[in-house]
């Protein structure tokens, strides 16, 4: 078990190095997302060790390394890992070609969400206020549930 931990961390580091390789911009555009592919592989074949938290940490590391919006890649990596983990039983035994095709499909989704977030990024400050509403909803839900279930019981009686 411990060896696979070492393998996971080492391979992630190598993937990060491959991502950070200084390349001319024309080539760089076509550089595969090594770290994302590594995360997908480990969530496919070592789901017990490499779960969502691992994907989130890898994404955050990529954000920091590329000076991007902090948390963007973390979010996208987590979502991708979630997708992979939920399709794992089917994807794990699929032939290599169809795996590659599916991963290309994931990447398209990934890019779509990335574009969307970058579009929204200007409004992220107001997003923070909405988030506080999400948290107050979280706190209010038990109260609402309690009152309304009481009401529902009384009405059905």
């Amino acid at each position: 078990m411990s060896t696979s931990w070492i393998a996971i961390i080492l391979s992630s580091l190598v993937a990060l190095v491959l991502t950070l390789l200084p390349l001319p911009p024309e080539v760089h555009v076509h550089n595969p997302q090594w770290l994302l592919l590594t995360v997908i592989f480990w969530s496919l074949y070592r789901p017990a060790q490499a779960g969502l938290i691992y994907a989130w940490c890898a994404g955050l590391l990529l954000d920091v390394a590329t000076n991007g919006l902090l948390g963007l890649n973390a979010l996208l990596f987590t979502l991708t890992a979630f997708l992979v983990l939920s399709l794992r039983v089917r994807l794990g035994v699929a032939p290599l070609l169809s795996q590659a095709l599916l991963i290309a499909g994931f990447t398209l989704l990934y890019l779509a969400v990335a574009l969307w977030v970058e579009g929204v990024a200007g409004d992220l400050v107001s997003m923070a206020t909405y988030l506080s509403r999400a948290i107050s909803n979280l706190a209010a839900w038990p109260v609402v549930y309690f009152i309304l279930s009481r009401l529902g019981k009384r009405a059905s009686r």
Partner: protein, 299 residues
């Protein structure tokens, strides 16, 4: 067998991670202190990785230098010697001029001209980015480099420090789409905001049509943004376009700094023109209504 265990991930964990990510993005956008500390802390590691990756390139560079032609080296030395003499000669004039300016300012009860402290730094790499307008330098927090410090080269303004870690600092160039600075338009005394486009071109939008500016004029830092000291050359006007809105023009300019071949840069480590300087303060006050007037016109 491990393959057939369904390791279905928990929805709760996913939701928590998503909320944490969105919160992180928002806080990063706002510029919260502990988020930037997290960025700096982790950035130390990744900047180190970038530096290590760049070592082979440095090595080949130095090996090539070792084999460089002897005559070429002599020519280079000769050129540098000439340049040094020339610069030192000009410097003598500069010193006497500065003394004169200080004397004049004293008569006007203004403070003496402050020459900011600069720090020589070497480019050690560049983090990957689609636009590629970032690079890493070999000096960081240890040398008192802070985010926001201006970066110049021998010809003009290069950019600003974006992030400073123990292993080095990341610099964003003026040509980046995420960068903007306030400039003086030639000798007109007018200011405009100059923004990067992602290519080797800078744009100042919504400049009043009556501004007397022509291609070839120099745009210098205005000092109003309190990020750059006043008077550093930024860009040269290449073209003037008529804006869609009536009464305004759009100025296209190209940076005077040699951004394609940056090897050594200077980081200005002291805070630029502090607002205590009286004459500058008056000037800012005099220019402000102008700026806000333009803004009102835009609306």
């Amino acid at each position: 067998m491990a393959l057939f265990d369904s390791h279905r991930p928990g929805f709760n964990l996913l939701l928590i991670l998503v909320v944490v990510s969105i919160a992180l993005m928002s806080l990063d956008r706002i510029g919260t202190r502990w988020v930037s500390e997290l960025d700096n802390g982790l950035g130390g590691a990744t900047d180190g990785v970038i530096r290590v990756i760049h070592q082979p390139i440095e090595l080949t560079h130095s090996v090539f230098q070792w084999f460089a032609d002897r005559d070429q080296l002599h020519a280079e030395l000769e050129r540098l010697r000439e340049e040094n003499t020339l610069l030192r000669g000009q410097m003598q004039q500069f010193v006497s001029l500065r003394r004169e300016v200080d004397a004049l300012r004293e008569m006007l009860r203004g403070p003496a001209a402050e020459i900011p402290a600069v720090l020589l730094a070497r480019r050690v790499g560049h983090p990957p980015r689609a636009q590629g307008n970032l690079f890493t330098i070999g000096r960081g927090l240890a040398d008192d480099i802070k985010p926001g410090n201006p970066v110049i080269d021998a010809d003009g303004v290069v950019g600003q420090v974006l992030r400073s870690t123990r292993a080095g600092a990341t610099v964003i160039q003026v040509t980046s789409r995420d960068h903007m600075l306030s400039v003086l338009l030639g000798d007109t005394g007018r200011t405009a905001l100059l923004r990067g486009t992602g290519e080797n071109e800078l744009i100042a939008e919504r400049v009043p049509e009556r501004t007397q500016i022509a291609p070839g004029d120099l745009l210098t830092t205005s000092g109003i943004d309190a990020a750059f000291p006043r008077g550093f050359p930024v860009a040269q006007v290449t073209d003037i376009e008529t804006d869609e809105a009536q009464g305004f023009v759009r100025i296209l300019a190209e940076p005077v700094a040699d951004l394609a071949r940056l090897d050594h840069v200077l980081v200005i480590t002291e805070p630029p023109d502090s607002p205590v300087s009286q004459p500058d303060g008056e000037k800012i006050a005099a220019e402000r209504p102008d700026v806000s007037g333009d803004a009102a016109d835009v609306d």
